[in-house]
Symmetry: C2
Subunit: 214 residues, 2 copies
Amino acid sequence: MPRRRPGRPRRDDQRPTRDLVLAAATTLFAERGFDAVGLRDVAAATGVDVATVAHHTGTKAQLYDACFARVFAAEREVLEAAGERARAALATGPADALRALHDLVDVFVDFLEDRPETTALWLRRWLEPHRHADLDQRYAAPLYTLVEELLAAAAAGGALVEPAPHVTVRSLVWAVHGHVVALAAQQGSGARERREFRAFVHRFLDGLYPPATP
Amino acid sequence: MPRRRPGRPRRDDQRPTRDLVLAAATTLFAERGFDAVGLRDVAAATGVDVATVAHHTGTKAQLYDACFARVFAAEREVLEAAGERARAALATGPADALRALHDLVDVFVDFLEDRPETTALWLRRWLEPHRHADLDQRYAAPLYTLVEELLAAAAAGGALVEPAPHVTVRSLVWAVHGHVVALAAQQGSGARERREFRAFVHRFLDGLYPPATP
DNA sequence: GGGATTATCCAGCGGTCGTTGGATTAAGGA
DNA sequence: TCCTTAATCCAACGACCGCTGGATAATCCC
């Protein structure tokens, strides 16, 4: 239990103020985008003053970046843990690699369904041209590499027809984002949509390989 | 040749001012989004005053809607023309239906590659929750219906495995948008990317059906 | 030619934005 | 207890925002 640092306390300070600000800002940025969110909106959603937001997170652009870093770090953490398990299956054989690929994609879909703000921030960032390189290299590239390795390993049991794995991976990723956006757009639990999408994804993965001709 | 209407002329009035404003605004909105674009930016890009923009397009929200209507009307026009040809192939047989499906998707990919602002506006609109219904029903639904019909017709020559056609179509559409975004993000002509993506899409369409077991 | 109509620009209004200086309050360290 | 440090809020600054009233100029209709 860390001691409180000096300073005038808030009325309810169970969590550090910076975390509260980042959480509120992330939600708002995901919903409305950078320019439509005012620092006074963030402050009101957190329950503090505008100056307090600035004191903890600096400028608005820095706050935006901090929100991205937090969300994408969480995504990366989950995916890398799943990636470790998948890598372990790489050496054991093509069938295991294909199953590991299915598992990895399931983790990815589950994560984005649970945290749709990840999809929203991801899409918004793609629409900012000057940030493409950073986003792609720091967050997307490692995942893409892993999936491509899994694809290649799984292909050992039946030659992979697709000549450009990154196109396949990217298309799959965008399909998942589209699924999450569609889920957020409709009312209801979307349980059927989730089930159908998973069936589609698994069929998609299996369809990447030509039928085994015994 | 329509006569000029009365009023103080611009210095160079080859095209109607409203068209120039809409074209400039569409580019800016696609690049930066609604809130990051000021009416003074639109005016400067057009070469007129702010008041002139307001005079021709009303409020900023109306200008935004007009840009959407123009872009999506162009998309719809192209797709419906291609859809007419595809529908003609529906009755002739499963092989023709499958080929028509390929052609229709090619038209879709070509169009979005040529006009990436369509993808940008489309994605931005998806990120505005209160506009989902309108976007989906007015523009997406007719296309989806047509593609699903083509899928069903093509399936007559080999049972369609996929049980939820709209999931397949939506995933394909999002994959195309992802392809366009990736194209815009990289330098160079992207000729190889385009070729690879087309190969992927056609393999994807063929993979929707189980292998014919002779 | 002369009013009517239309397009354009200028200037400015009220409001909101991101940001900051400084006062206030509470905690830790001596 | 007193000084330092840190967290918070208040007030306000300058800049920019969407929007508009009104002046001006060019065309049409008669």
